[in-house]
Amino acid sequence: MSGNPTSLTAPAGGRDSGPLSRNWRLLTAAAVAVAAGIAAPHVISSVLWISLLTQAVVDMIFATSVGLLVRQNGRISFGQAAFFGLGGYIFAVSIAREIATPELAIILAVVLPTLIAFLLGLIIARIPGVAHAMLTLAVGQAFYEVVFKWRELANGDDGMSVALPRTLFGFDSGMLQTPGSMLPIVWTILVMILVGFTLMARSPFGQLTEAIRENDERAQFIGYTTTLPRAVIYGASAFVAAVAGLLQTLYNGYISPDMFHWSLSGMALIMAIVGGPKIIWGPALGAFILFFFKDVAGDATEYWPALVGIMLIVVTLLLPEGFAGLAERTDVPLRRLRKGRAS
């Protein structure tokens, strides 16, 4: 694999490490990861592998968006595909109908879903727990119904292929559909998102959202409004989902209502849970594992969804912190050992 996602976690921090050195370590790790991503296509000779990895990284970005909602809001979404699909559809429809220049279409494709999610968040975020899970499913599926039925928009059920303009922001757009050049792009975006989320989690805002997640009522007693921060998290998570949908559309040059379907939302949620949403890079790890698990299991048997279901059940029961939690747990004693030797 190109670039190990575990390198992105700054160590949980001993007593001596201030926030400044923590952030430096994070940035160093990120720089190493980006360098590894740029080097990867030159090291990996198989085009098939590079192509699979590119697709996997798009999934990793999508799963990260679901993970953010779980991590900062403590909410489970069965409708995140709505924003994934919107990212792709807004871009594709705006350039196909010449509503906007391609560059503007790219900006709209990430800004509009963010705004929609923020406004929806103001309503949905007030509803806790299980009802919330049902609601997100229903809202997500409403988007699916619209694009499925509305044939004039983008051929309904059949989907639509997207012809990219020759250049985007002055770069040759062919780069986006060549695995060798797309892999470093999507990988760098993923690293940037993970760094951004880590910095956000460390910021006062990130800590406020965690306080709200732990006890909404108490946060209100201290004097915070709780709906607004939750809605901001919705927006941020939809932003990332839209980026993933946009990247997938740019890479594949194709959109279809399946991008909105709740089974995709469910899959992203499974990826996030299997990876472990408590840790910021957990969902990405889960997406990576499941992408290749599906690939291998799909070759072996057509009954692979059952295997994914069983994996979900086993992980939620036996590894409540996901694979990332497992990795951190085995890492802590090692680090302690190293520290003990040094002193």
Binding site: G129, A131, A133, L135, A306, G309
Partner: protein, 282 residues
């Protein structure tokens, strides 16, 4: 027009049978069973297979018994061991079960659509308001009304019903007061899944059977439960009839928007009353 209203009641009745199962399970275990649509689908296929060998009525009975047993296993094997966990964990596990059951149905019955005939006794039509109306649809209405009536009497006037209602207000306190909530839950989850199986068989002659047939109706019954107020039995009944009408009227008069109307209703109700028509806990 009146015929359309009746058609709406038919769909509303089916939605009620599913939604009330969800409400029953929610009341005792405080979780939403994402596998409920898959149980509906499984009930459908079991009824279909038995009916292919014997007849519709045996298929109906067999599916109810089989799905009740599945429900007992679900409660004893999954929900009870998980009751100390975060409720979202259990919801995720039921989502995993959904994937497993759908794959199971694909493996056993294949992906192709199957159809099932109504029993001979109920085939044919009757004259209603000067128009022919299938007898079978009247039967579906009758069954759902009987279930609604029976459940109401049971919940209001029996001791166990009292426990169930108490438990859906506060399971912990009910347990402290000496009610064996685990045994109660076994009964209630079995009842809920049995109803899902029953509605599966009853719906089978009205829709095509496929491994994913439960998904759409699951989403609409979620809307029913949310609109009615999570945990409310009467709310579920009112909301099911309402969504049934909207679904059907939409399909007739506003085909392009029909599938969206229930979602819009839900959003409106939630803005108006975040806890649903009949209130209840979140």
């Amino acid at each position: 027009m009146l015929i359309q209203v009746l058609n709406g009641v038919v769909y509303g009745g089916l939605l009620y049978l599913l939604a009330v199962g969800l409400v029953l399970i929610f009341g005792l275990r405080e979780i939403v069973n994402f596998a409920h649509g898959a149980l509906f689908m499984l009930g459908s296929y079991i009824g279909f297979s038995i009916a292919a060998i014997f007849d519709f009525w045996l298929g109906l009975a067999g599916a109810i018994v089989a799905m009740t047993l599945v429900g007992l296993c679900l409660d004893a094997g999954v929900l009870r061991p998980l009751r100390k966990h975060d409720h979202m964990v259990t919801v995720l596990v039921t989502f995993g079960i959904l994937l497993v059951l759908e794959t199971f149905a694909t493996a056993v019955w294949g992906k192709a659509f199957r159809s099932m005939q109504p029993p001979e006794l109920l085939s044919g039509t009757v004259e209603l308001f000067g128009e022919p109306f299938p007898v079978y649809r009247l039967f579906v209405i009758a069954v759902s009304l009987c279930v609604a009536g029976g459940l109401t009497v049971w919940l209001r006037h029996s001791r166990i019903g009292l426990y169930v209602r108490a438990s859906s207000v506060d399971p912990t306190t009910t347990g402290i007061l000496g009610v064996d909530t685990d045994r109660l839950s076994l009964l209630v989850v079995g009842l809920g899944t049995g109803l899902a199986g029953m509605s599966g068989v009853i719906a089978a002659p009205l829709m095509a059977l496929s491994p994913t047939m439960g998904n759409f109706i699951l989403i609409e019954s979620f809307i029913v439960v949310v609109v009615g107020g999570l945990g409310s039995f009467s709310g579920a009944f009112i909301a099911a009839l309402l969504i049934g009408q909207i679904h059907n009227m939409g399909a007739v008069y506003l085909p392009w928007a029909s599938t969206l109307l229930p979602f819009l209703l839900m959003v409106c109700v939630l803005i108006w009353r975040p806890t649903g028509i009949a209130g209840g806990k979140g």
